[in-house]
Amino acid sequence: MKHTLAILVENKPGVLTRVAGLFSRRAFNIESLAVGVTEKPDTSRMTIVVSGDEHVFEQVMKQLNKLIDVIRVSEIPAGDAVNRELALIKVGVDSSTRAEVMQIVTVFRAKIVDVGIKSLVIEITGDEEKINAMEQLLRHFGIKEMVRTGKIAINRGAKTVKVGK
């Protein structure tokens, strides 16, 4: 079972190490991790996808809450949230395949951000499934390199994850 966590932390050096270290020493599995500053410059937000049963997940939440630099931990429910990931994919092309790849990019509403004689760099955002689907298709043309950000997530509607509730 996968869970998505939004973790608000102090925007200080070393905090990522504390969080990541906790996962490794408690034998919790991180599937994906993304981090960046929030609307408040002193606060960063991590989005972590963990796998494990309910018991493991409960321990993850509690242990995270014990870290002094962790301000708030909340679960982003799978159904009621916007999940996004960004990927940059470098695909090998030649004159016979370039048009086809560009067509796929259009269908997926992705973007071509760099054009070379033998390659294209494609930028795609979307949920995990969409990016996986794109990757599958592009594999036929030869993926030379790929980089993904890891998932970020936000609740739908008025519900927020904020400091001090």
């Binding site: 020493r25 018991h55 242990q63 809450n65 014990k66 002094i68 962790v70 301000i71 400091v163």
Partner: protein
């Protein structure tokens, strides 16, 4: 308040004054020279140890004996890494401690400079929190936070790493009045609704038992526990960490539970219908085979650390809060109820009669007898233990009456802990008799501290139960490895009397039962740091014993 410009090192001393620190256990070195220069005429006692590990253990023992935050100090690199075992020991047993380390100048960090070690990285998993100070202006805030974090909630060690250049930098010193930690707000009061539910579960039960640990001692809830147990007429069992939280000779006490607990404590847990667990963490040494633990009992778990609840066992009713607060309000809810524990207590007293904690009482000098005699001569002593058989015998055969009189490394099981911890306890409680119950193996892990106790006139008594073996490991080899005593024999290696004398301490020896009482009395009378070499039966076992992986009522009596 008028501001004065002072160095970072001076700011550290001023911060320690503000926190009421009276004593530091430490060892100097290159990167803490500015700090030691300030200590030279500071109004803080400094105990110069002979190994930094002992500084950490002594600060720990001081903290456990007094309830105050213990402070230790070491230089960068090897000084800092030598603290690591002591910090890990304190972390496992929730001991409030602030460890201060020097660091190479901030401009050199990351360059593999001389005596550089990334001590904040190293201690990340064994501290409650740690700091690398990069700007001297942060010193007052960091110290304020560190002492607060170390001493509140579930206590624990906090490390502060201070580069040498930061110690020299000049700052305006102003100690903060308030703490603003967005991510740290421990819950002290228990949820009132949960407490009410707990009260009705308790009044509904026929066979309740209190299972209490170090949390009672930390929150100073012994009086509340005693009131509650007497009101409910419910038996009390303590963990190793909970020894001294409840008087062991009280009629409701069933002593320690678990691997080397009393049979009747283990039977009582297994047959109870309600466990009121307070300040405990259901450690594997306590529960034995977890699936067979207390099969018929509901569990109320009271702890200040929410992460402990439901970690190892399913809990029927959790209460997050400080033990003292929760027990106090629990008492209000049950005091008018009627206890129906008559049958239950009768059953337990039969078990007590049938399966007492005992050993063979013949003419031979057995280690249990030594502990009994220590108890007879010094009934109010603080007992610090090493780890292994000596630790178990001290827990089993000394009669603990008041909290903070049993000081032992429970979670980490650190050999070499007891002697320096006893030294720290004696510094914190100079009017108490402090006895270190040691094994010959453990004592040799930090015996160099004899120099420290002599130099600083810290008259602890080290009672070595000398069997010439790493006794607990030997016991396991006897029971589970066909008596193949692989590397556990240390027979006749050290003359402990001469060792003591070499350091200027008093050395005494007893080889017969008849000599035991006399040497203990002589040690007490001398008022000097003393080592007593009790040459005891070599292959005595700690009994009873729950084999690893068995249920706790499958407890064996050993020869």
């Amino acid at each position: 308040m008028a501001k004065i410009k002072i160095s970072g090192a001076r700011a550290v001393i001023e911060s320690l004054y503000k926190e009421g620190v009276e004593v530091i256990f430490g060892y100097p070195g290159g990167t803490v020279l500015p700090l030691y220069d300030e200590l030279y005429d500071a109004d803080i006692r400094h105990i110069l140890v002979r190994h930094e590990q002992a500084a950490a253990h002594a600060a720990d023992g001081y903290a456990r004996a007094t309830g105050k935050v213990g402070v230790c100090l070491a230089t960068s690199g090897p000084g800092a890494t030598n603290l690591v075992t002591g910090i890990a020991t304190a972390y496992m047993d929730s001991v409030p401690m602030v460890a201060i380390t020097g660091q190479v100048p901030s401009t050199m960090i990351g360059n593999d400079a001389f005596q550089e070690a990334n001590i904040t990285g190293i201690t990340l998993p064994i501290t409650k929190h740690n700091y690398l100070i990069q700007d001297a202006k942060d010193i007052p805030r960091v110290f304020k936070e560190a002492f607060y974090i170390a001493g509140t909630g579930r206590p624990g060690p906090v490390l502060i790493d201070i580069p040498k250049d930061v110690q020299i930098e000049l700052i305006d010193f102003e100690y903060p009045e308030e703490i603003n930690l967005r991510g740290y707000k421990p819950t002290a009061a228990g949820n009132e609704q949960q407490v009410k539910r707990a009260a009705s579960l308790i009044l509904d039960s026929d066979r309740p038992i209190f299972y209490v640990g170090g949390g009672i001692i930390i929150s100073e809830a012994s009086k509340e526990l005693l009131n509650l147990a007497e009101t409910l007429k419910a038996p009390v069992t303590t963990t190793l960490m909970g020894m001294s939280a409840f008087p062991t000779s009280h009629p409701l006490s069933v002593g320690m539970l678990g691997m080397h607990g009393t049979k009747y404590a283990n039977f009582a847990i297994q047959e109870s219908d309600l466990i009121i667990a307070v300040g405990v963490r259901f450690d594997d040494r306590v529960t034995g085979k977890i699936s067979a633990f207390a099969p018929n009992a509901k569990i109320i778990h009271i702890d200040i650390d929410p992460a402990e609840i439901g970690k190892n066992v399913r809990v029927d009713l959790p209460i997050v809060g400080d033990a003292k607060n929760v027990l106090k309000s629990l008492l209000n809810h049950v005091k008018d109820g009627k206890a129906r524990t008559g049958e239950w207590n009768k059953k337990i007293s039969v078990w007590k009669k049938e399966t007492p904690l005992t050993y063979r009482k013949d003419d031979l000098l057995r280690p249990q007898y030594v502990v009994e005699q220590l108890n007879a001569v010094c009934p109010d002593a603080i007992i610090a233990t090493e780890v292994g058989q000596n630790q178990m015998w001290a827990a089993q055969f000394f009669d603990f009456k008041t909290p903070r009189t049993f000081i032992s490394s429970g979670g980490l099981g650190t050999m070499g802990y007891g002697f320096p911890a006893g030294m720290g306890a004696k510094v914190g409680k100079p009017d108490s008799t402090v006895i270190v119950v040691a094994g010959d193996g453990s004592f040799q892990m930090n015996s160099q501290e004899l120099a420290t106790v002599v130099q600083n006139d810290i008259p602890v008594i080290v009672a070595i139960l000398n069997n010439g073996f790493l006794g607990m490991v030997r016991q396991w080899q006897e029971l589970f490895f066909d008596r193949r005593y692989s590397e556990t024999c240390m027979h006749n290696c050290v003359d402990f009397v001469k060792l003591a004398e070499a350091y200027g301490a008093l050395g005494l020896r007893a080889t017969k039962k008849s000599e035991v009482r006399h040497v203990i009395e002589e040690a007490v009378k001398s008022g000097r740091p003393t080592v007593i070499d009790f040459v005891v039966e070599r292959e005595e076992n700690v009994s009873p014993m729950v084999p690893a992986g068995a249920a706790i009522n499958e407890i064996l009596e050993l020869e």
